[in-house]
Each structure stands twice: as structure tokens, then as C-alpha cells.
């Protein structure tokens, strides 16, 4: 029984390691400036917990075989070792807390700094199963919006066109284009329930909370089309709340924007 259990634990451990190390399925390549640092921290953490995982399971398996009941005699009456306990408490505390501190670096860069001054502002307003994207237009200012004016057919964010700043705002649905290599400042809102803006290659996830305007910023460094998924349960077709993030070169982006400017 002891051998069998140790064997099973060993096989499970090996299988797990193979599954993780083989990367048969893995995260997509990062396209944001901060993405690689998150990936590095992830791999570092994964390595450390991987070692801990192997050590712990191997020790367990080894003890199971080595100290299975055999022959005569008794177990050892060994039940305390303050020095040993102090040692492993210290080691785990140091390792875990170092990881915790290291784990704050990207976070601090993303969330403790204000968006850089020249950043392009984009407003993302989530609603049940749709992403509404708004650009401030040539004047660089978002116009006033009013809840009563919201109309899913032609005014999804409720622009108040009596405000001059609103007249050049550009609103798209589920299509979010951004220029590559430029800081993007996203203002996240929601019209109804909580949604979460999740673009896996961007390594960016942030809830959109009704009643709040949440600011995030990032910089994409590779062009392409990527999917925006909702990562917070928002209702019936949560699993189909798909938008697209288009990372374009600066001129393409300008062209894209102009095509969508109201005539």
C-alpha cells in the first residue's frame, strides 16, 4: 500500500510538472510594455512553488515508503524540535514575503502612477454584453453625457450634443483601436452591472464598476487584433461579451479614427 501510494503521488507530481513545463497550452505572447515583467514574475513564482511542490510531494512519498509499518518495533517518540521549527518557519517567511514584495513591482508601476501626460484617452463603457468605446475626438476632451439620452441604437453612451465638446466624440461598439507604442489611458465605466475588461495578451484586467470611473494605463508594443473578454460574471451571455482590441500603427490608427468620426 505504501509503495502504491508513493508511486501514485510520484506519477501525479511528474504529470503536473510535465503539464506545466511542457506548455502545451500557455498564455499568449505579451503585447504590452509591462507584460513581460508580469510573465517573468509569474515564471519566477512558478519555479519556486514548483520546487516546493516537488520537494513536499517527494518527501511525503518517501516517508510513506520508508516509514510504512514493517517488522517489529515502534515509531520514534520524537515530537518537538524548536530549532527545526524555527528554521523552516524563517525560510518560508523569507521566501513568501520576498515573493510578495517582488510581486508588487509591476502593480506599483501600473496602479500607483498616474497615466503619463501624453497618453491617449479612451473611455470604455461596459454594458450587458457590449463594450462601448469612446474617443474624445480632435479636441481631446470628452463631452458631457446624460443617462436619459442613452439609446442603444444611436447613442449608446448618452452623449449630450448640446455640449460642444461632445460633438466630435467618436463612439464605437466592441471595436477598440489603439496606437502602438503610445501610452493609453483607459477610463472604465459600466452602465449596469460589474464587468471586467480582460485582454489576455495585454496582461491587463480591471473591473468596470457602475458608478465609478476607474483609470488604468498601459502601452501596447505589438500590432495586431486581440480579443477583449469580460472576466466578471455579468449575466446571461457573459461568455459571449466579446470586443476587439486593434493595435495599429499611428497613421493607421488616425485613419481608423477618421473613418469613424461623425460626418
Amino acid at each position: 500500500m505504501g509503495f502504491a501510494l508513493a508511486l501514485v503521488i510520484g506519477v501525479i507530481t511528474l504529470g503536473t510538472v510535465v503539464l506545466f513545463a511542457g506548455r502545451f497550452w500557455w498564455f499568449p505572447e505579451a503585447i504590452s510594455e509591462h507584460g513581460p515583467s508580469i510573465d517573468r514574475q509569474f515564471m519566477l513564482t512558478l519555479t519556486i512553488i514548483g520546487i516546493a511542490f516537488i520537494l513536499a510531494q517527494a518527501t511525503l512519498a518517501f516517508f510513506i515508503v520508508r516509514y510504512r509499518r514493517q517488522g517489529e518495533g515502534r515509531a520514534s517518540y520524537w515530537h518537538d524540535s524548536p530549532r527545526l521549527e524555527a528554521l523552516w518557519t524563517t525560510i518560508t517567511a523569507v521566501v513568501f514575503l520576498s515573493l510578495a514584495v517582488l510581486g508588487q513591482r509591476v502593480w506599483a508601476k501600473l496602479h500607483l502612477n498616474a497615466p503619463p501626460p501624453g497618453a491617449l484617452q479612451v473611455e470604455v463603457t461596459a454594458q450587458q454584453f457590449v463594450w462601448n468605446i469612446r474617443y474624445p475626438g480632435p479636441d481631446g476632451k470628452f463631452g458631457r453625457t446624460r443617462t436619459e439620452l442613452i439609446n442603444d441604437v444611436d447613442n449608446p453612451v448618452g452623449l449630450d450634443f448640446t455640449d460642444p465638446a461632445a460633438q466630435d466624440d467618436i463612439v464605437t461598439v466592441n471595436q477598440m483601436a489603439i496606437p502602438v507604442n503610445r501610452d493609453i489611458h483607459v477610463i472604465l465605466r459600466s452602465k449596469d452591472v460589474i464587468h471586467s475588461f480582460w485582454v489576455p495578451p495585454l496582461r491587463m484586467k480591471q473591473d468596470a464598476v457602475p458608478g465609478l470611473a476607474i483609470n488604468i494605463h498601459f502601452k501596447a508594443v505589438k500590432t495586431g487584433q486581440f480579443e477583449i473578454a469580460c472576466a466578471e460574471l455579468c449575466g446571461l451571455t457573459h461568455h459571449r461579451m466579446r470586443g476587439f482590441l486593434l493595435v495599429l500603427s499611428e497613421p493607421e490608427f488616425e485613419r481608423w479614427l477618421q473613418q469613424r468620426a461623425s460626418p
Binding site: F63, T147, T237, H239
Partner: protein
């Protein structure tokens, strides 16, 4: 006195175990006061902690069966989203019209599976079930401090469960807002989605009832542990199970009221038009809502202030049972008893300070996120201490591979696996990609669900002979272990990979996204593993009920264990210890004491071994 005190004679105290083995000394101790005669007072509205414990256990078994069935429906939907299951549809004629599992029904399943498992299985079985049955016995009390409260606690829990089940049968069906019921989705009513009308109200009511029941139970646990310990049962001689139940009860006592407060506010937002959680200017289904000014994050704070301790409410009893069982079958004292107790308390205390790690990407202040992150990883330290101590308990042990021991060893393995992924999720930076993906699902199922269930299994196989006076079938039990242990890993390890690939949780299918469709084979694999593992649980249910009537008769102390429950007959008489109150002379895990005649010493064994 003579006849009735025979089982407590010195020979039963470890000096002469032959009598024990032969089972000859198992005369039933006559109770000083007879147990209630009528069936209703005895088995239904009983105030006997053992009957109440069993009632909790059976409730949890019913709940877990339902919870597993619901999870299988979810798995079927995830693996084969468009498949029709006319036969399975018969169980839910309204929600599964035509036999397909619709996305809204999938979300109802998500909600109900989570709620049933967290509240009515993981809280009910290890705490309400085993805690009620064995805490008074292990501290040497005749019953809980307040038996009537104890009885109420069970009946209110049952009412909560029935109210929750009723959600399936009201118009609109069960709520789709998840077991976390995030406002405003849960707060604005049916216009936000199916099941969010009456179903959600019933959900809140059920949770409120559960809160009240838990409070009554927790009061009993705490008072009994502190005040009804028998002579000699110092706090430092309590079995680690008792420490775990005690700490769990303190957590429940302080955490559930906050959930109750949140639930009341949520209900008022829904039915009385207040705006605690619902902000102004919401437009749901093209309708402007009248609410104004509430805060959705407030619900999350209240919920997780309860929700995180709840995780420990589920797992701490499992840790206690594992320690208890490991020590018994390692035939060694638990390593570092004081460190174990300290770790339980540290985990309980820190458990109240880390709720924010569920909210890193919620829009909460990024500074408090950092504080929560540091506290979260420091909770890994007491958890690691426990793991080290379990391993050290096995060092130079003499391991008996009984079924409870297998599950306890499985617990250690799974606890390590599930705990380590917490190191990823606890880091703010890494939570950005991992939050609300399958990585989280894998993590909490392993650490809170499966590990706790392994604790429950270990406890069931371990205490079954005491509860029913019969042994469970060994071969079936071992088969059950192997299938479950391998199956669990097959289900949950691949889920980590889904999460790393970015798969958000609570998605009814992968078809909606290009980056998810390549992951579909993993879903199919997990579903097959889940079906097999769930099937293996039938072995357990069969073994359990078959053994109640047909199992081999159990001795008073079949495992040759040390704590007080093994000093009384199996099953224990109505008042546990009969006319005598046990007197405790030593710690709970005195195995392989050098110089002792046997390799275990009961807690009641007299201080100095008498000359033999």
C-alpha cells in the same frame, strides 16, 4: 455501580487491551438518566449532540449529492455545449427544456453548486457534523452547553437548505449571480437576468438563515470547549480536532454576522428601494433604475470580510482531523503540538485581514491591495508550518495504511498542491492575469473544496466505527480513495492550465472567443475525469449505508487511538460517559511512548504507568 462501570475499569485504560480486542467488555453503560423514549424526541427534535451531529452529517450528504450532480451538469455543458440530454432534462423540466443546458441554467448551476457546497457541505459536515458529534465527547462533556440551541441550530440550517432548494422551483429559476452574488447584478432584480427575481430573494433568505444557525452552533462550540471540559482536560491537552473546531467556531461567530448584515442590506436594496449597493443612473435592459448613490464595492467588502474566513471555516476542521488521523496511524505523537495550535490560531486571525485579495482588480485602492497582498502571503507561513509538522509526524513513524490514513495523506498532498497556487494569486501583479480565471477555480477547489472533503472522508472512515458500532468496508474504502485521489488531480490540475491561458471562469462555453476554442479538449478531459470521480463517490455512499447495517462489528477502540471517544462504547450511550466523568491525565497524542506497555496511552491512562 458494578456492571455499569465495567467498561471503565482499569483494563480498558490501556493496561490490558486483550479485553478490548475481544470486545467482551463492550457492555452498554446504563445511562443515569434514560434517553428520551419517543421517536420524535429521540431522533427528530433531539437535543442529544450525537443525534444532531448525525442530522448535520446526513444533511451534508444529501447536499453533497445534489452539489455533485449539479457540477456534472456544468461539466457536461462545458465539454459538449450543444449536446442534448433529454434524460437528464427530466430532473429540471423547466430549466432544461428540450434537454439542452442553456447558458442561464449553467449560471444557475454555478450559483447553486457553489452555495450548496460552501455552506451546506463544507461548513455543515466538518463543523456541524463531526464537531457536534465529537467535540463534547473529546472534551469529556455529556452534551453541548446548550442542547436546545444546538437543536435549533440544526433545524434552522435545514430550513435554510430547503429555502435554497426552493429557488430551483420558483419562476425564473435559481439565481445566476454566482455564490458571491455581486451587486448590482444581484441587487436590481429580474431585469438583469433570469433567476434574479424570486430566486435571488430565496438565496438571500437561505444565507441569512444559515448565518443565524451558524451563530447558535458556534456559541455552543465555544462555550462547551471553554467551560465543559472534564477534569484534567487542560487546553493544552485538547485534541487538535477540538482546537480546530473551536477556532472555526470563533471565526464563524465573527464572520457570519457581517454576511448577515450584507444580506439584509442587499435584500433592502432589492425589495425596499434603498440604495446601499446600487449606484445611481443604472440602465439595465434599457430601463433607468430609480436607485442612486450606492457602492457595489461595499457589497464585495462585506461579502469577502465574511468570505475569506469562510474558507478557513471550511478547511480548519479538515486540518484538525488530518492531524488527528495522521498521528493515530503514524503511531507517533503529532509533531509540534503547540506550533500546530499556534498555526491554527494564526491562520484564523490572519484570515480576517486578507479579504481584500479577492478584490485586487475590483477598483479598490491599489495601496490597500499591496497591504492585503503582503498579509495574504504571510498566511502561507502558518500553513507551511502545518505541512512541515505533518511531514515531520511521518518521519520515523510506523504508518498503518488504513482508509482514514490514506485520506489524511491525500489531504496533505492536496493541501500542498492547492496552497502553493495561492502564492501566485496572492501577488497583486500576478492576480491581474489570473483573477477570475480557471486558475482561481483550480486553486480554491483544491484547497477549500477537495482538501476539506478529504478531511471529511478521513473523519468519516475514522469515526464511523464509533458512530455506528460497525466498520466500513476496507476494500471498498481503498478503491474509493484511489479513484478519488487520482480523479481529483485529473480534474483540477488541468484547470490551472486553462487559467494560465486566460480562460475566465463562469463561461458557459468556449465558442465565443478565438483564444478559448483551442482549450476545448481540456474541458472534455476534465469532464470525463469528473464523471469517473463522481461515479467513485457512489462507492462511498454504498459503503456508508451498507456498513451501517452489514459492516463488521467494531470494537470500542478499533484504531487503538488515545482520545476520549475511544474510551466509551461504540456507539456511545445517550449521555456519553454514563455516570462517570472521565479524568484526563495526559496529552491527546501519546503514541509509542517509551516504556509503555502498548504503543498508545489513552488520555485517561493514569499518570505513572503502574508496575506490571
Amino acid at each position: 455501580m458494578g456492571a455499569s462501570s465495567a467498561p471503565f475499569s482499569v483494563s480498558a485504560q490501556g493496561k490490558n487491551p486483550r479485553i478490548l480486542k475481544g470486545g467482551k467488555a463492550m457492555t452498554q453503560a446504563t445511562a443515569v438518566h434514560e434517553a428520551p423514549k419517543s421517536f420524535i424526541r429521540r431522533y427528530i427534535f433531539s437535543t442529544d449532540h450525537k443525534v444532531i451531529g448525525l442530522q448535520y452529517l446526513f444533511l451534508a450528504m444529501a447536499a453533497v449529492a445534489i452539489g455533485i450532480v449539479l457540477s456534472l451538469y456544468m461539466r457536461l455543458r462545458l465539454a459538449w455545449p450543444t449536446e442534448r440530454w433529454p434524460l437528464l432534462g427530466k430532473l429540471f423540466p423547466n430549466a432544461m427544456a428540450g434537454g439542452t443546458i442553456s447558458p442561464e441554467f449553467y449560471l444557475s448551476l454555478v450559483t447553486m453548486h457553489g452555495t450548496i457546497m460552501v455552506f451546506f457541505v463544507l461548513t455543515t459536515a466538518p463543523l456541524g457534523g463531526f464537531g457536534n458529534y465529537f467535540l463534547p465527547i473529546q472534551v469529556g462533556a455529556h452534551d453541548m452547553a446548550f442542547p436546545v440551541l444546538n437543536m435549533l441550530s440544526f433545524w434552522v440550517t435545514l430550513a435554510g437548505f430547503l429555502v435554497l432548494m426552493a429557488a430551483f422551483f420558483v419562476s425564473g429559476g435559481a439565481p445566476i449571480s454566482g455564490w458571491t452574488a455581486y451587486a448590482p447584478l444581484s441587487a436590481v432584480g429580474e431585469i438583469a437576468g433570469p433567476g434574479l427575481g424570486m430566486g435571488q430573494n430565496l438565496w438571500i433568505l437561505s444565507i441569512a438563515l444559515f448565518c443565524i444557525a451558524s451563530l447558535l452552533g458556534a456559541l455552543n462550540f465555544i462555550t462547551t470547549t471553554l467551560n465543559l471540559r472534564t477534569k484534567g482536560m487542560a487546553m493544552t491537552r485538547l485534541p487538535l480536532t477540538v482546537w480546530a473546531w473551536f477556532t472555526t467556531a470563533v471565526l464563524a461567530l465573527l464572520a457570519f454576522p457581517v454576511l448577515l448584515a450584507g444580506g439584509i442590506l442587499l435584500l433592502l436594496d432589492r425589495v425596499a428601494g434603498t440604495s446601499f449597493f446600487v449606484p445611481g443612473g443604472l440602465i439595465v435592459s434599457d430601463k433607468i433604475l430609480p436607485h442612486k448613490g450606492g457602492s457595489p464595492l461595499l457589497w464585495q467588502h462585506l461579502f469577502w470580510f465574511f468570505g475569506h474566513p469562510e474558507v478557513y471555516i471550511a478547511i480548519l476542521p479538515g486540518m484538525g482531523i488530518t492531524s488527528h488521523v495522521l498521528s493515530t496511524f503514524a503511531r507517533k505523537p503529532i509533531f509540534g503540538y503547540r506550533a500546530m495550535v499556534t498555526a491554527i490560531f494564526a491562520i484564523g486571525l490572519l484570515g480576517f485581514l486578507v479579504w481584500g485579495h479577492h478584490m485586487f482588480v475590483s477598483g479598490m485602492s491599489p495601496y490597500s491591495a499591496i497591504a492585503f497582498s503582503l498579509l495574504t502571503l504571510s498566511i502561507g507561513v502558518p500553513s507551511a508550518i502545518k505541512t512541515f509538522n505533518w511531514l515531520a509526524t511521518l518521519y520515523k513513524a510506523r504508518i498503518h495504511f488504513t482508509v482514514p490514513m490514506l485520506f489524511a495523506l491525500g489531504f496533505v498532498s492536496i493541501f500542498v498542491t492547492g496552497g502553493l497556487s495561492g502564492i501566485v494569486l496572492g501577488q497583486t501583479s500576478l492576480d491581474i492575469p489570473m483573477h477570475d480565471t480557471y486558475f482561481v477555480v483550480a486553486h480554491f477547489h483544491l484547497i477549500m473544496g477537495v482538501a476539506a472533503i478529504f478531511g471529511i472522508f478521513a473523519g468519516t472512515y475514522y469515526w464511523f466505527p464509533k458512530i455506528f458500532g460497525r466498520m466500513m468496508n476496507d476494500a471498498l474504502g481503498k478503491l474509493h480513495f484511489w479513484l478519488t485521489f487520482i480523479g481529483i488531480y485529473a480534474i483540477f490540475i488541468p484547470m490551472h492550465i486553462l487559467g494560465i491561458a486566460g480562460h475566465p471562469r463562469r463561461y458557459a462555453e468556449t465558442a465565443g472567443f478565438d483564444f478559448l476554442t483551442p482549450l476545448q479538449p481540456i474541458h472534455v478531459f476534465i469532464t470525463i475525469a469528473a464523471l469517473i470521480t463522481a461515479g467513485a463517490q457512489l462507492l462511498f455512499f454504498f459503503n456508508f449505508f451498507w456498513s451501517i447495517w452489514k459492516g463488521k462489528k467494531a470494537e470500542m477502540n478499533p484504531w487503538r487511538a488515545t482520545t476520549l471517544e475511544w474510551t466509551i462504547p461504540s456507539p456511545p450511550p445517550h449521555d456519553n460517559f454514563g455516570p462517570q466523568t472521565p479524568v484526563v491525565h495526559r496529552g491527546p497524542y501519546e503514541y509509542s511512548v517509551p516504556g509503555a506497555a502498548e504503543d498508545y496511552l489513552l488520555q485517561t491512562a493514569p499518570p505513572a504507568p503502574t508496575k506490571s
